[in-house]
């Protein structure tokens, strides 16, 4: 009897292992539709998660404001200075904008093809984050029912967050750009001739390279998306933190500080792609 049980257990384990490996093979790379049982699990869990996530945020926020009293007043000073500078900038930009408006009218008169602008988006909340340390996946409370599809761009006020990996009825998984599976093609805001690719890594920072080894890239340069990959053009990715050029490599490698603070992610925008008929 004992022997039979042992053999039976081994058989069961082997069968389950094979089933799991087949499952992995099917689900690798993310699917466009999630099966119903998965959908139900997510539907039940996400509202509870949202509650706890929000609770954690509130606790953290109040703790921060207690301990960060001094730094807040310093920050306040800094922000005031920044505001002054920005106000000056706004005025000069306003003048430029008037010129631009004229040029736009001209473009319409000449019947240029309109460039896509981002106007169709929805706001979602983060409900929970990845439980492991290998990846940087999180769940948002918007899904197929709201029009989210696989590879929709996710961003927030600061810049690019990631893309939708899988969607279910009322929730979706989002792969952030600091995940080691993610790669984003970028161009430098100062000079859009300089393009390259940034990749996430396990220690959640962005490293990348420029395709042109002669490109002049400086620390502090802002990077935006090119529109060549799944992400639409013109979303802020981050700023350059370090530039290295190795002798034996042709590429110039950079380390990028993402503009989004992934530790304090709460509300995100999902850009809904226009339906193609």
């Amino acid at each position: 009897m004992g022997k039979f049980m042992k053999r039976g257990l081994a058989m069961i384990v082997i069968i389950i292992t094979i089933i799991l490996i087949i499952l992995m093979g099917i689900t690798i790379g993310g699917r466009t539709r999630i099966s119903t049982p998965e959908n139900i699990i997510g539907k039940v869990i996400t509202p509870i998660q949202r509650f706890f996530f929000k609770g954690g945020q509130m606790v953290e926020g109040s703790f921060r404001s207690i301990f960060a009293f001094r730094s807040i007043s310093e920050e306040n000073e800094q922000l005031k200075k920044e505001l002054e500078e920005l106000n000056k900038e706004v005025i000069s930009l306003q003048l430029q904008n008037n010129d631009l408006e004229e040029l736009r009218d001209l473009r319409e008169a000449l019947r240029y093809i309109e460039e896509n602008s981002i106007d169709n988006y929805l706001t979602a909340s983060v409900t929970g984050k990845d439980m492991g340390n290998w990846f940087n996946m999180f769940i948002i409370n918007a899904g197929e029912n709201h029009g989210v599809v696989k590879d929709s761009t996710v961003m927030n006020g600061d810049g690019l967050v990631g893309k939708v990996y899988e969607t279910a009825g009322n929730w979706s998984k989002v792969l952030s750009i600091i995940d080691n599976k993610s790669s984003v093609s970028f161009e430098i805001l100062r000079n859009d001739q300089y393009v390259g690719v940034v990749k996430g890594s396990v220690n959640s920072n962005l490293t990348g390279y420029l395709i042109d080894p002669e490109a002049e890239v400086l620390v502090g340069d802002k990077l935006i998306t090119t529109g060549l990959s799944v992400y639409p053009k013109g979303i802020l990715v981050g700023s350059v933190k370090e530039v290295t050029k190795k002798e034996d490599e042709l590429l110039k490698t950079i380390i990028v500080e993402p503009s989004v603070n992934f530790r304090r992610l709460n509300k995100v925008f999902v850009i809904i792609p226009d339906k193609i008929d």
């Binding site: 292992t17 992995m24 699990i41 609770g55 492991g132 340390n133 996946m137």
Partner: protein, 166 residues
Amino acid sequence: MKFMAVFIIMTCNLILQSTLLQYFKIFNIIPNTTLVLVVVFSILWGKYRGASIGLVAGLVQDILFGEMVGTNALIYMLIGLIIGSLESSIFKENSFTPVFFSTLSTFVYHLLFYFIMTIADNQIPFLLILRKIVLIEVIYNAVFSVAIYKIIYSLTKHQNLRIRAR
């Protein structure tokens, strides 16, 4: 009853690990309390329960956060099975037991994960993983395992959760 208790514990853990624990990250590393719980249950209840708890917990985690469904389920199941099959020879009163097994299983977890990810064409340098994730997570998990083991072990004194008498 036992089933319900385990179900509630695992669900609470799932929700806490994906939400509140995210705010207690040290060096950007979060402890894997699911793994610790699977280890603790297999120490106390043997391979059958250990493996099945691991399988279900892993599946749910994969469905919600995984890149591939089945990765965590397979690893947790195997860990539950291996540790659970040693159950009869484990000294359960010692508080060093959970530390030892959680440390061991954290290494095994990451090794298996690395193995699966390499097959799935995810090139990640192993040394980087070891330095940035594993070494910190091992310590973190060990600390959590002491507390979790104490809680679960005291729960097993309760009528419905009693460990198998020998």
